[in-house]
Symmetry: C2
Subunit: 156 residues, 2 copies
């Protein structure tokens, strides 16, 4: 699982870099599908990941508002701000947590930590797939979604 988180972070950081060529207006333009604009999608990925990581630790949702992060630099900074905490949790992952129950303030139901971890992996890859279509529509080459050729699984 850890390698798929590292994949997502590497791909996300490349998208932050790739999007630097886009204007503020293009980043915020409403698009079909997903959560709306390119920037709001990046914000949503960052927000959802940390919200669930905190929920798994029994901590309240910080619920940042997109209105306060309306530039690429701010969303990137938010992503970096959360990253160390998430790395710490993923590094400390113990398979005994797989069926540990998790509840979230923003939705009903009780889930397992093992489900939430997989949900986060799939959630980011899915939204990045959406970014790739929007990028092509703008004439921007999407970031490669390939897991292989990234040297993410070097032998220890």
């Amino acid at each position: 699982m850890k390698h798929l988180f590292e994949y997502n972070w590497q791909v996300r950081d490349e998208w932050f870099e790739r999007c630097r060529t886009l204007s503020h207006e293009v980043l915020l333009q409403e698009r079909q599908g997903g959560v709306g604009s390119i920037l709001e999608t990046l914000f949503h990925i960052v927000d959802v990941e940390y919200s669930w990581i905190r929920a798994m630790k029994g901590l309240p949702d910080l619920a940042p508002h997109f209105e306060d992060y309306k530039s690429l630099e701010q969303v990137k900074a938010l992503s970096e701000n959360y990253r160390q905490d998430i790395i710490a949790m993923i590094d400390a992952w113990d398979n005994e947590w797989t069926y540990k129950p998790v509840q979230a303030s923003w939705m009903e139901g009780t889930f397992y930590c093992g489900e939430v971890i997989r949900h986060l992996i799939a959630h980011e890859i899915h939204h990045v797939g959406q970014l790739s279509v929007w990028a092509r529509e703008l004439g921007l080459e999407p970031v490669s979604a390939s897991f292989i050729e990234r040297d993410l699984m070097q032998k220890d």
Copy 2:
């Protein structure tokens, strides 16, 4: 990992069902991003998954041609035809295979089985993200990409 394959198959089967409302022309229409049309994307997901599964087993690529599978029913049948073989491999997965080398006839380089397994998971989710944008553009509600709420991880 197994649960993420099961997630992908469940989502894929729902897309086959969802796409039944689309005409042949809409399914084959060229779109921005990804591998082109909705149907070719589904075919590509099915083809790539089985090609790598066979490569991991040291078997040659079957390399089906999209020209021979130009209906939703044919691509769905191909997916079902391959499924049992893939389930057998995923069920038999042994962590000792993580660093087993894999070579593919369609690309240069040597990869690890552990990388290829993760690549397949990410590959399908990424392309399904693209389908979700195209569906919205067509006024079609996309299949849910949520991992949670699918009861994929019931306790034994």
